[in-house]
Amino acid sequence: MSLKVSKPSSGRQIFSSKIAAITVWTITILWTIPTFGLLVTSFRTGDEIYASGWWSAFSNPKFTLQNYKEVFLGGASESLSDGILPYFVNSIVITLPATIFPIIIATMAAYGLAWVKFKGSDFIFFTIFALQIVPLQMSLVPLLQLFTGGAHIGSVTIFPALGIAGDFAGIWLPHTMFAMPLAIYLLHNFIASLPRELMEAAHVDGANHFLIFRKIVIPLSVPGIAAIAIFQFLWVWNDLLVALTFAGGTEEVAPINAKLASLVGQYGSSWTTLTAGAFITISIPLVVFFSLQRYFVRGLTAGSVK
């Protein structure tokens, strides 16, 4: 057995470090090639894309920004309104409130369930936990009908027709609703583990729940909140099902991901616009992911590793 202290001895390992490194790097390269191919292709001219594979682009480098120009300016009309940018704006407009609203409401609920214990609070927590895996598909149609028609018992309206289907509010609201179970569950784990002494001391000092929530719970939960916010951001930005159901495909409200999906389905879409469009769509989540990865990983592992 090796006596070196600095390096873990091979006896304790499942396979040698060399094999581990080779395995990891081989799979990493395999995992990166598809995205890399898309990126390279998005910078090639239409003729080149169809004349040879992207891997041969390096022997005779001829790159262009034409595809991006075309995607932004909507081809022949040369107008930003006909390009992909309005959908990009929609995505931002959808994602910000659909991240902020649920996170705050879920943080409040998590605090209420963890620290203002009441009869039935455990039952409510279990129910919320269980709702986590109810397929989204279960609620789509009735919810859409509620938004367009309201709810009535006989002639009495118990829920007004909000008329927000096809409006931004009509996308924020379902996202906020569907985010509740997972967000409350993860935040509850986090908030319930805050030190009890701190809460009790604050109560002794005469602080009420609202003050404690603002001055103690929120500041101390920032890492947890950040992790879940990133998760929710990625989820909303990348969503297709809610967008298709509640936004339709119009330029006024549809997000970029739905636009990309319709580009793929369109007959005659070429790889020039598809590759550039796809790369624009995935760029924002990738940037968010790479810059905030640490928080994201912490949030994920907090929820699943005991």
């Binding site: 057995m1 873990p8 006896g11 304790r12 499942i14 040698s16 094999i19 581990a20 395995t23 990493t28 995992w31 990166t32 598809p34 191919g37 594979g53 107008s79 309104s81 309005p86 910000l96 902020i100 705050i104 409040m108 609920a109 203002v116 409510i124 919320i128 936990f129 986590q132 109810v134 397929p135 989204l136 598909q137 279960m138 609620s139 789509l140 149609v141 009735p142 919810l143 931004f168 509010a169 609201l173 906020t176 609703m177 179970p181 409350i184 609202f210 930005w237 990348n238 298709l244 999906a261 793929v264 590759t275 796809a278 769509t281 990738l286 790479f290 990865q293 994920l300 592992t301 590793v305």
Partner: protein, 325 residues
């Protein structure tokens, strides 16, 4: 050009005002509610903290879920009660049966590969010095939408008759002497090629969670086993694997639920054609393309029935965990 800027400006305006209104309303409620004292204050606090979330869950998830169950016993327009007809139809229609079989394949194969690969990488990464870069590259596809991932892989699976292949898979295939294949049309291989996309996006998730699980295995345990002469597969079988078994189950369960709800990849890659359809996609097209609410709802209920074993398992494990505290 100007149209775009004015339109965007008004959109951003509506976001800013929505967020502002949200915080103003919340602030005022907190301010007013904070004025109360005594026993009443407690009830007010409970209502304000937990009430909004419960209302959202009731209106957005619970009530619609129950309505969907009710709709599944009605006809296409949701008017006439037709008993179990929609369910009987599901188990008799050959197309739905194929779709069901595909969904089962997704549930069985994709989570298994995702978790196995994730475990392999988590173990290997644990033995590497500089794990940050490969880890983050392997994890990155998770940030890519299923639609984006589908475009990436559609390009990789691209087929052209003739000599030049621009899709990587066909290029490799023809390089080794094969005839170019239209992968998306070759049953049943196409379903598995679609699963590759899901595995590609989700493997990083499994890897990160399992990696954290492996790191949490106490090192004295592995050291003691090593002193007793354990190494290689013995070490994995008797120490690492039993210690991360619970984490593996959690990851598998998450993946199964994810695979069951999956719809974007199939919709984008094949539109559910060529024998690749899955229940989640069929449910969407029944309701929004064919306007058959009854059949669509019945499929949604079926999806829900499929997740109930995992639901029960989850609740049991959280109850057990509570009891241990």
């Amino acid at each position: 050009m100007e149209g775009f800027f004015t339109a965007s400006l008004s959109k951003f305006g509506s976001v800013a005002s929505a967020i502002a209104i949200f915080f103003i309303v919340l602030g005022s409620i907190f301010y007013i509610a904070g004025k109360f004292n005594g026993k009443k204050a407690r009830y007010i606090a409970i209502t304000i903290f937990v009430g909004p979330a419960l209302a959202l869950l009731a209106i957005g998830v619970v009530i619609p879920g129950i309505q969907t169950i009710l709709f599944s016993f009605r006809d296409a327009e949701g008017v006439k009660f037709i008993g179990f007809d929609n369910y009987i139809w599901m188990f008799q229609d050959p197309y739905i049966l194929i779709t069901m079989r595909n969904t089962f394949l997704w549930l069985l194969v994709a989570p298994l590969f995702t978790t196995a690969l994730g475990l392999l990488l988590a173990v290997a990464l644990n033995q590497m010095r500089r794990e940050a870069i490969p880890k983050s590259l392997l994890f990155a596809p998770m940030a890519i939408s299923f639609v984006g991932a589908s475009v990436i892989w559609k390009f990789l699976y691209e087929y052209r008759s003739g000599d030049t292949q621009i899709g990587l898979l066909n290029a490799i295939w023809t390089f080794f002497g094969g005839e170019p294949v239209n992968w998306m049309l070759s049953k049943p291989l196409n379903t598995f090629l679609l699963m590759v996309i899901l595995v590609w996006t989700q493997m990083g998730f499994a890897m990160v969670i399992l990696s954290a699980g492996i790191k949490a295995v106490p090192s004295d345990l592995t050291e003691a086993a090593a002193l007793d002469g354990a190494s290689g597969s013995t070490l994995f079988r008797y120490i690492t694997f039993p210690m991360v078994k619970t984490t593996i189950v959690v990851v598998l369960a998450t993946q199964v639920v994810g695979a069951l709800k999956l719809f974007d990849i199939v919709e984008t890659m094949t539109g559910g054609n060529f024998g690749t359809n899955v229940l989640a996609n069929e449910m969407f097209s029944r309701i929004f393309v064919q306007y058959d609410q009854g059949k669509g709802s019945a499929i949604a209920v079926l999806l829900f029935i499929f997740v109930t074993p995992i639901l029960i398992f989850n609740i049991r494990s959280i109850l057990k965990e509570r009891a241990n505290k």
